[in-house]
């Protein structure tokens, strides 16, 4: 090997250069990798705990029309962490086999890009103000760009009080996906594999 002494496989200069580069790389990795992990950390853990929220007595709700309630999605961030939900008692005639929950609690998050939909009683439709999404009374897509029915929340009744639990998503046949997906994520057929469940939900 040119430049190396007898029996050496690497020149001394080459070893020093490599050593200095390795030390620099190690030092950069020592602060770079933890910083990267720090920034990406929330991607790999559940960020919001599951909890049950009391929204009123059973008598406050009925089978025929939706009652509007406000719950916390995220605590301690003020209005930014609150959301409106539409709650109605399960009705065999209306809901049939689309749900096994004692109450139907529909999220107001539009499944196009997440704007807040409102229920218009006269039209019996959920209508989104942003891009014209329209949903039927069960939250199924009636028109516009949304890709799946409105999300719902688990419900429970305890001591005569209605409790609202975690969110879940539905495909267009009302099949439940316990790990909720973001708005804009299709869930029918093969689409569900393009929008996988994430560790955060």
């Amino acid at each position: 090997m040119p430049g190396a002494f007898e029996g050496e496989t690497v020149t001394r200069r080459g070893l020093m250069t490599g050593g200095a580069l390795a030390a620099g790389g190690l030092a950069s990795a020592a602060f770079g990798l933890p910083a990267l992990g720090f920034a990406l950390g929330p991607n790999f853990s559940r960020t919001e705990p599951h909890r049950w929220q009391d929204v009123g007595a059973e008598g406050d709700f009925n089978k025929a029309s939706y009652v509007q309630k406000i719950i916390d999605l995220v605590a301690d961030v003020g209005d930014a962490g609150k959301t409106t939900i539409y709650v109605r008692k399960y009705s065999r005639a209306v809901d049939g086999k689309t749900t096994d929950q004692p109450y139907v609690a529909i999220s107001n998050r539009c499944m196009h890009l997440g704007c807040p939909v409102r229920y218009v009683q006269a039209a019996q439709r959920f209508i989104c103000p942003c891009h014209g999404g329209v949903y039927g009374p069960l939250g199924q897509v009636d028109g516009g760009p949304p890709v799946r029915p409105l999300d719902r929340f688990y419900t429970n009744v305890e001591n005569g009080r209605v409790l609202i639990g975690p969110r879940f998503s539905l495909d267009s046949n009302f099949k439940r996906f316990p790990h909720p997906r973001d708005p804009s994520n299709h869930l029918d057929g093969l689409w569900q594999y393009l929008y996988p469940a994430r560790p955060t939900t």
């Binding site: 929330p42 919001e48 301690d76 962490g81 890009l113 704007c115 994520n185 393009l194 929008y195």
Partner: protein, 269 residues
């Protein structure tokens, strides 16, 4: 008998004055004006002697430009000054702004209504952002229509493309910060647009939100990206962009034909 000795060398006179200092012109001592000018020159000279910057600066600032260079060639500098405006006003806005979801709106309102010149500085930042985006596109159009992206300047076109993307990201992350209804819902929609990309989209949205929902650290995350991460990258890339401009020179406008040397022109006839 005394030995002969060499004559002693002449004793040195006191150190002669450095040229240019304390000149006595026509028997007059330098006045205040001369001394002030002298101090400036001396300071620059002191710095130049120690940094050797003047050849670099001469090459950078006095480089030759092609015939036909016109006002369109100032769009790049205009973009840079728009960025500098954003940087300076942004630094000072950060002195009053509080990236806390329950306080951000009030701190922005406080800047506009209470802080002296607050509405002006915030206005400079807000309108300056639109100006910067416009100038970026005009600068890009100039480069495109003048063919200035061609060999050997392709790398500078690529750096410019990255700068364009970074400018867009600045617009996206900055839009949330006033934290009023419009900026909140626009950011929700923007994040969900990211989520619509297959496979990686939902993870990207989780990264932007720092979780599955808009939460207590989403705003500070946007703030940090907006005022530390991307500006740092933009400054570095503007440096590289300018280095290549100075290194490669600018192009002549496409309507100017290259002048042939006279001898060559004769030969062709």
């Amino acid at each position: 008998m005394a030995r002969p000795r060499l004559p002693k060398p002449p004793s040195p006179r006191r150190t002669p004055p450095r040229p240019g200092t304390n000149k006595v012109v026509n028997g007059k001592k330098p006045g205040l004006k001369e001394n002030a000018a002298e101090a400036g020159i001396a300071t620059v000279g002191w710095l130049d002697e120690r940094t050797g910057a003047s050849p670099f600066l001469r090459g950078f600032l006095y480089r030759k430009v092609p015939k036909g260079t016109n006002w369109f060639y100032t769009l790049g500098s205009a973009t840079m000054f728009a960025f500098l405006n954003q940087a300076v006003t942004g630094v000072f806005l950060a002195m009053y702004y509080d990236p806390n979801p329950t306080k951000a709106y009030d701190s922005a309102r406080h800047i506009t209504n209470d802080v002296w010149l607050g509405a002006f500085v915030r206005g400079m930042h807000k309108w300056g952002s639109t100006v910067m985006v416009l100038l970026v596109f005009l600068h890009m159009a100039r480069t495109f229509f003048f063919g200035a992206y061609k060999y050997p300047r392709e790398l500078n076109w690529l750096i410019g493309f990255v700068l364009l993307v970074l400018t867009m990201l600045m617009s996206f992350t900055g839009y949330l910060l006033p934290f009023d209804q419009r900026s909140y819902w626009a950011s929700i929609v923007g994040i969900n647009l990211n989520s619509s990309g297959p496979i990686v989209g939902p993870y990207l949205a989780d990264f932007l939100r720092a979780g599955s929902e808009f939460n207590s650290v989403t705003l500070s995350r946007f703030y940090s990206i907006h005022m530390l991460l991307i500006p740092g990258a933009i400054v570095a890339l503007i440096g590289a962009h300018l280095y290549l401009v100075a290194k490669l020179g600018t192009t002549a406008p496409p309507w100017l034909k290259a002048e042939k040397a006279k001898e060559l022109a004769k030969e062709e006839v």
